[in-house]
């Protein structure tokens, strides 16, 4: 095949066995790769208990990985989330996607549970299992050091074995496969790491067309202020967003009680680079290189992390923010959930956490020694036990990222409809509500947003299936990427054809969630946003969100998405999209 290798590796950890599947080409054309193919395989075991042998964790790349397509080798990792109970999936960079693809597999389906802690090593198509009981408490950098692997490593830290429901899988040391707690799933499976290395090439159907399509995208990337501009993420990382989100008065502050953080210019990306120095890094083959590393080797925090470990906790100590990020990486924990859980704890106890308290608590959570045991389960379970459920700022039990929904109504709707719980990346409305791409929309209005969000969810489901970087969609669109896809695979698809696949892939999420008991009730926002206003000022008024308007937009969304008025998938739509209705 062109684009794909046509081979999927199945690993059973209980039996320590592996086998190779060669699916029909049709399956690839329909689900593409990454999130799409993962979702297809997850659907088969979606209703199983997460700690059962039958539950799978999936690692899938897309057809463009291993080619010269701009925004290269990302990978999608998927399972059922222990934090939310929904589908749990995450797109991650580094070089794991490229290395995995080079092994000759498009993806890996891992089921079963090892009886002892183990690692999986794959070199080209050869799979071996390595017992590593002594590695249980090793932090991420220690794992990498011990392995000194030449390819790429996905590993979990101690938190995965210490009951942290928001444990990450870390790629190559500091690329987080975050949100949703997929590291915890590895913990259940007794899997400490997955190391891959390969030498196979991805074959390409039409190199000339690929070159042309690539140039079209690179031209758009150069023209994009967000990506390549003087204040763009190439220079400052996603931390570049800090000033803008502050100036729009939508920076979540003090556990989302306020939306403005004092003197933001003293806590912005520039100030971090000034204080800690900067080296530029990025995913393999990417020329945007949005990852920023401090001179001392610790990664500089990305926007979400930087904002939540400062504004959300009312913390103005930059060193502790960098350190908190580092600790989360080392223990393998999601920074958004970790910071937001601490913010909930802070509001609930009425105690503003000191910088050292923040970092100590993080270490304790990662080690499994925290006296507030439930902090490792995320803010929802913690606050509920304390009888203060409303102080957990979550959607489907997952902590919200650093865009206050009172300042962007598309974001509000997309938080609610996100199939993996509170997340900004499913529809990424920051693009038009804040960054003016492709054009600006009115951020304080729900008008038109139902359809906009639905379309954007399809686009991003496709991005995660092609496993391209979503940042590139600030500049280019599926119009250009469909040319790349067609040139690489020889399967001629237009932008709309890809969007249709995206719709199928996203709807599959809704089917999986509905089978696990999710409906309209969970597509909602914390009450705080409907009752309390944000921090108005500078001629920007930030009122609470009108509940009726929100509900109306959500109903419209259901209609546009082809769901019932209760937010449930329908048999007709499932059939139309070629999905599976019931097992």
């Amino acid at each position: 095949m062109n684009g794909w290798h046509g081979k999927i590796l199945h690993i059973n950890l209980t039996k320590k066995e592996s086998s190779i599947e060669r699916p029909d080409h049709e399956l690839y054309y329909k689900f593409i790769g990454g999130k799409g193919l993962s979702g297809y395989y997850l659907r088969k075991c979606a209703t199983k208990e997460i700690d059962s042998d039958g539950m799978a964790i999936l690692f899938f790349t897309g057809p463009l990985v291993g080619t010269t397509s701009p925004s290269p080798g990302r990978i999608n990792i998927t399972s059922i989330s222990p934090l939310t109970g929904t589908i749990g999936d995450t797109s991650v960079g580094g070089k794991f996607g490229s290395e995995l693809k080079k092994t000759g597999f498009d993806g890996i389906v891992i089921t079963g549970k090892s009886d002892e802690l183990c690692g999986i090593e794959i070199i080209d198509e050869k799979v071996s299992f390595k017992a590593c009981d002594e590695a249980r408490d090793l932090k991420i950098s220690e794992v990498l050091k011990k392995l000194s692997w030449q390819g790429s490593v996905a590993a979990v830290g101690p938190s995965a074995f210490n009951g942290v429901l928001y444990s990450n899988i870390m790629i190559d040391g500091h690329y987080a496969a975050g949100r949703n707690g997929l590291g915890f799933i590895c913990g259940i499976k007794n899997l400490k790491y997955l190391a891959v290395k390969g030498s196979k090439k991805t074959s390409i159907a039409d190199k000339t067309e690929l070159k042309k399509a690539r140039e079209d995208i690179l031209r758009l990337v150069s023209a994009s202020p967000v990506l390549m501009g003087d204040a763009g993420i190439s220079k400052f990382g996603t931390g570049a967003l800090f000033d803008l989100i502050s100036s729009r008065r939508m920076i979540p502050t003090m556990n989302f009680k306020e939306t403005s953080f004092e003197d933001p210019e003293k806590m912005n990306a520039f100030s971090y680079q000034k204080e800690f120095g900067v080296k530029h890094a990025g995913c393999q083959g990417c020329h945007v290189r949005c990852k920023k590393i401090a001179k001392d080797g610790r990664p500089l925090p990305e926007y979400e992390t930087m904002s939540h470990f400062s504004a959300l906790l009312l913390n103005r100590d930059k060193e502790s923010v960098v350190n908190a990020n580092f600790i989360c990486n080392e223990y393998g924990m999601d920074t958004i959930s970790a910071a937001a859980t601490l913010a909930c704890h802070s509001e609930l106890t009425g105690e503003i956490l000191k910088p050292e308290t923040i970092t100590n608590l993080l270490k304790d959570i990662g080690e499994g020694t925290c006296s507030e045991r439930l902090l490792s389960k995320g803010s929802y379970r913690y606050a509920k036990e304390k009888g203060k459920k409303d102080l957990s700022i979550t959607v489907k039990k997952q902590e919200l990222p650093a865009y206050d929904p009172r300042g962007a109504y598309g974001m509000a709707l997309s938080y609610a409809t996100s199939t993996r719980g509170g997340c900004h990346l499913r529809a990424y409305p920051v693009s038009h509500e804040i960054l003016r791409k492709p054009v600006a929309t009115d951020r304080f209005s729900f008008s038109g947003k139902a359809r906009i969000i639905k379309i954007a969810e399809d686009v991003n489901a496709m991005a995660d299936s092609l496993t391209i970087c979503k940042f590139f969609l600030f500049a280019a669109s599926l119009e250009e990427y469909s040319k790349i896809y067609s040139a690489v695979t020889g399967d001629k698809k237009s932008a709309q054809d890809l969007l249709d696949c995206g719709e199928r892939i996203f709807y599959n999420d809704r089917v999986i969630n509905s089978l696990n008991g999710f409906s309209k009730e969970e597509d909602d926002l914390p009450v705080r946003f409907f009752k309390e206003q944000g921090s108005s000022g500078n001629n920007i008024n930030v009122p609470p969100i009108d509940r009726e308007d929100f509900l109306e937009a959500r109903s419209k969304y259901y209609k546009v998405r082809g769901l019932s008025s209760e937010g449930m998938p329908t048999k007709e739509k499932v059939k139309e999209l070629g999905l599976v209705w019931k097992n």
Binding site: D216, L218, R219, L220, V221, S222, A223, S224, P225, V226, M228, G229, D230, A231, G232, K235, F236, G239, A240, L241, F242, D243, L244, S247, E265, N268, A269, F270, S271, H432, I434, L435, R436, K437, P438, V439, A440, T441, S447, G448, K449, A450, R451, I452, I455, D458, V459, E479, E480, S482, S494, A495, Q496, D497, L499, E503, K556, K559, V560
Partner: protein
């Protein structure tokens, strides 16, 4: 949505792209809303089949109507299926303009699955938006701009080679006077613009508005900036130059905040111009004849043919105004590398296939005047060559 549909219906008229009874614009969230007096079958089906939220059908006004008809007919006669304008904005953002022989909803849908617009020969143009009807408007405006540039460029080339035909002559004679000449400019922009931050904001907005009023930009795009107190005040990316109030970013020269994340894609060029020269104001527009003349090159067998927009071995100029290559934004071929050096000795420069940068030291009267002068000069030169 209704408000936006109304707004862009009005803008289509104001921009002189269509007449009142010659378009239909629609938007959808869960239900479709239409505005316009035309009746066109099957447009609702397009909403059904495409992931879009707004749609425009337009029969562009003259001179665009005749130009588009001529070009689309030519394309079909040559058994091709797209018009390929060479100007920078089209190349970068629209890539090419697909053409259909007849109007059938299903064929239009197939084309729109891949591109942002379709031209239906002798019938009209369809464009769409995915988040706002603004995209419909912008795309139509770009189609009109780029086909105008293409027609006049093609005509010039064929004329020089004595190869223009009767039909083309006919169209040329019909459309040539539509643009007319630009009104005189009598330094009407304010003079004391550097009194305080407010006066800078207001001056940038006014300069933008006037540039649009004179028709020195396409799709209302271009960019405007002024330097004051360690900041550059610059129009935001994709902002409409006639509506800049509230859409100007203040970006510090020392890079100490990232508010410029939404600033124009030419922020880098403006920054460099400011640091390399004594200028304090910059205007960048896309005036038609400057763009057309910048692509008029007589060199034969140039080793760079086809890449002139990014590399050019010659030192080119028109009436003393330098012409440089350069792509939008940053990157190694970015105009941010080619424009600033030229502006050290000159207060105006043309970028190949793209537009003009003009600078001033005191206010916006100087760059505006220069921009207009350059365009007038290019227009004169053009007609000298063809008439």
């Amino acid at each position: 949505m209704e408000k936006l549909i109304n707004k862009y219906a009005t803008k289509l008229l104001e921009a002189g792209l269509v007449d009142k009874d010659r378009f239909l614009i629609g938007g959808i969230d869960d239900d479709i809303l239409w505005e316009g007096l035309l009746e066109v079958k099957g447009l609702e089906e397009i909403f059904d089949k495409l992931s879009i939220n707004s749609l425009l059908f337009a029969k562009p006004k003259e001179p665009y109507g005749s130009i588009i008809n001529f070009l689309s007919k030519r394309v079909l006669e040559e058994n091709a299926d797209k018009i390929e304008p060479k100007d920078c904005e089209t190349r970068t953002f629209l890539h090419d303009l697909p053409v259909l022989n007849n109007y059938s909803t299903s064929e239009a849908i197939e084309v729109l699955k891949e591109r942002k617009c379709v031209i239906i020969d002798g019938f009209g143009v369809i464009t769409y938006g995915t988040v706002s009807p603004e995209q419909c408007f912008v795309t139509l405006s770009s189609v009109c701009f780029s086909t105008f540039v293409k027609f006049f460029s093609d005509y010039l080339k064929l004329k020089k080679e004595n190869r223009s035909d009767k039909e083309m002559e006919g169209v040329f004679n019909f459309v040539k006077n539509y643009k007319g000449s630009y009104p005189d400019f009598k330094n009407t922009l304010s003079k004391d613009i550097f009194e305080n931050e407010e006066s800078v904001y207001s001056a940038v907005a006014k300069a933008g508005k006037l540039t649009v009023e004179y028709g020195l930009v396409d799709s209302f795009f271009g960019n405007v900036s002024a330097f004051y107190n360690g900041n550059i005040y610059i129009s935001q990316t994709g902002s409409s130059l006639d509506e800049l109030d509230g859409y100007i970013d203040a970006c510090p020269f020392d890079g100490s905040t990232c508010t410029g994340l939404t600033a124009s894609s030419e922020l880098s060029a403006h920054m460099k111009i400011a640091s390399d020269t004594d200028c304090r104001t910059i205007l960048h527009g896309h005036p038609l004849f400057s763009v057309i003349m910048s692509m008029n090159c007589d060199k034969n067998d140039c080793e760079n043919e086809g890449s002139c927009f990014k590399i050019c071995p010659e030192k080119r100029e028109i009436s003393g105004i330098p012409i440089v290559p350069g792509e939008v934004g940053t990157g190694s071929f970015g105009l941010c590398n080619t424009v600033p050096p030229e502006l050290k000795n000159n207060n105006g420069v043309i970028v190949y296939g793209h537009g003009v940068f003009a600078t001033g030291e005191k206010d916006f009267n100087e760059p505006f005047k220069r921009l207009l002068e350059i365009e007038n000069r290019c227009m004169e030169e053009y007609f000298k060559l063809v008439l």
